[in-house]
Symmetry: C2
Subunit: 292 residues, 2 copies
Amino acid sequence: MFKSSVTNLQEATAEQVQEFLNSFDTVLTDCDGVLWIDNNSIPGAADAMNFFRKIGKKIFFVTNNSTKIRTDFASKAQQLGFTATQDEILSTAYLVAHYLKGIGFTKKVYLLGSNGIAEELKAVGIRHTGVGPSDLDSEVGAVVVGFDEHVSYPKFMKAACYLASEECLFIATNTDERFPKSGSIVVPGTGTLVRAVETCSERKALVLGKPHAYVRKFLESCGLNPARTLMIGDRCNTDIELGVRCGFQTLLVLSGVTSIKELEKIRLEKKAPLPDVVLPKLGDLLSLVPPS
Amino acid sequence: MFKSSVTNLQEATAEQVQEFLNSFDTVLTDCDGVLWIDNNSIPGAADAMNFFRKIGKKIFFVTNNSTKIRTDFASKAQQLGFTATQDEILSTAYLVAHYLKGIGFTKKVYLLGSNGIAEELKAVGIRHTGVGPSDLDSEVGAVVVGFDEHVSYPKFMKAACYLASEECLFIATNTDERFPKSGSIVVPGTGTLVRAVETCSERKALVLGKPHAYVRKFLESCGLNPARTLMIGDRCNTDIELGVRCGFQTLLVLSGVTSIKELEKIRLEKKAPLPDVVLPKLGDLLSLVPPS
């Protein structure tokens, strides 16, 4: 484990950077805000990831984004210059299907979310339904909330009606408040919808994504050595918190939702765990790497 | 002030009921769930309110509902058999306009809410705008969230974008989780939308309705004698909490959102203040009144 008084990697000596690179075998990285924003690769991110791969690090992409199935994530990564296979991708749409299959769920899912979840459910043989024009479906045994840009009042209402039955499971992919965006626009994240459904149902969702227990257990079952794993993210209350809870090392990049000002606020108000090291963006690592 | 060990008024002696009736001069009553549900009067509620008026009690209707202007509330009450004038109605749409006028607000309101608020704003000369197709309006200086059955993702997004400016005020009419309904249907209340906007904006709204500070100050400014005021409601975390915080007596009716089972849960979990007295529905009071 890399232990240093240096939190800004840019201020580290060449020796310290080398020590940092030697201190982990596995890299877990968030996607939105670290590798890309929307459909634009963040400059240098692909080179940095390719460098990790070149020096023998094992790589996993761990995303709270629930809008895509794993093959689509891999395709997107490849289009943006990254190397990625389906098996290296852990997305919340996949986690939902994995969780429900794991508990032997045989009823139907009421889905307030996008196609990624629908397709992952289908892949494990779990049926789902949406808001539709019809009455409540007596076969529904779980409400799943993910990202849904077509959210509506009737969708909230139907979710709350299903959740009035205590037997109905309540699952959320993640509770990220916002998506990382360039510029001043604020793009509400899945957390916005989850909090809405929690309010009208007067229940708390089981959240599967970062930093919650299910994704942690999933990662632990992958046989990682926590002390030699690095978690990279752009958000302290999901990525860094996951890393801290799992005993990973953590690297925060400031290319996504967390600005340097926001990081200072988190530090002062103790709103979330702090990272071990910080970089403006992932690509900045390369210029710090000592020549071999 | 009526002080008794009896919390179920139906178990009170005729003498205790008379003592209760003698203990207040003013009746503040919630509307949805106490007087009516949707467009149906709750049996006996109008008779009970008319009885209060007959024995000389002063009456105010204090509602968190923001969908109507006060004259429309008065019309609805009259159609359902109640006597009510505009001056007796305190609704959150009116409170929003009263608040903004009171602080000398001259900018524009971005409204995520219904017509009731729009019309009350217009009545005090405050302009408003909605989601529209256009870019952000630089004249907007406040986001107001009320009940809106046409809520959408773009509406949340625009609210969050305006609220990214710290100078932009963030006001909510109320945070009721649900509307009272007969049957098993769950109807999300304004709280559902407020929590959503709070999440994506990463800010807390100033809530004007029951049980929050602004409506309390407003009522205090009306010259009521708290010790001789009765607050009637169907919800412990708004109506009864308002009453308790203001030093009013409180009567909970079980004809709205709070069932006897839910009341027991609130008691056990200390989730909200408890009422002084309870009745299944307001109309049940009349059969308890001693003959004069």
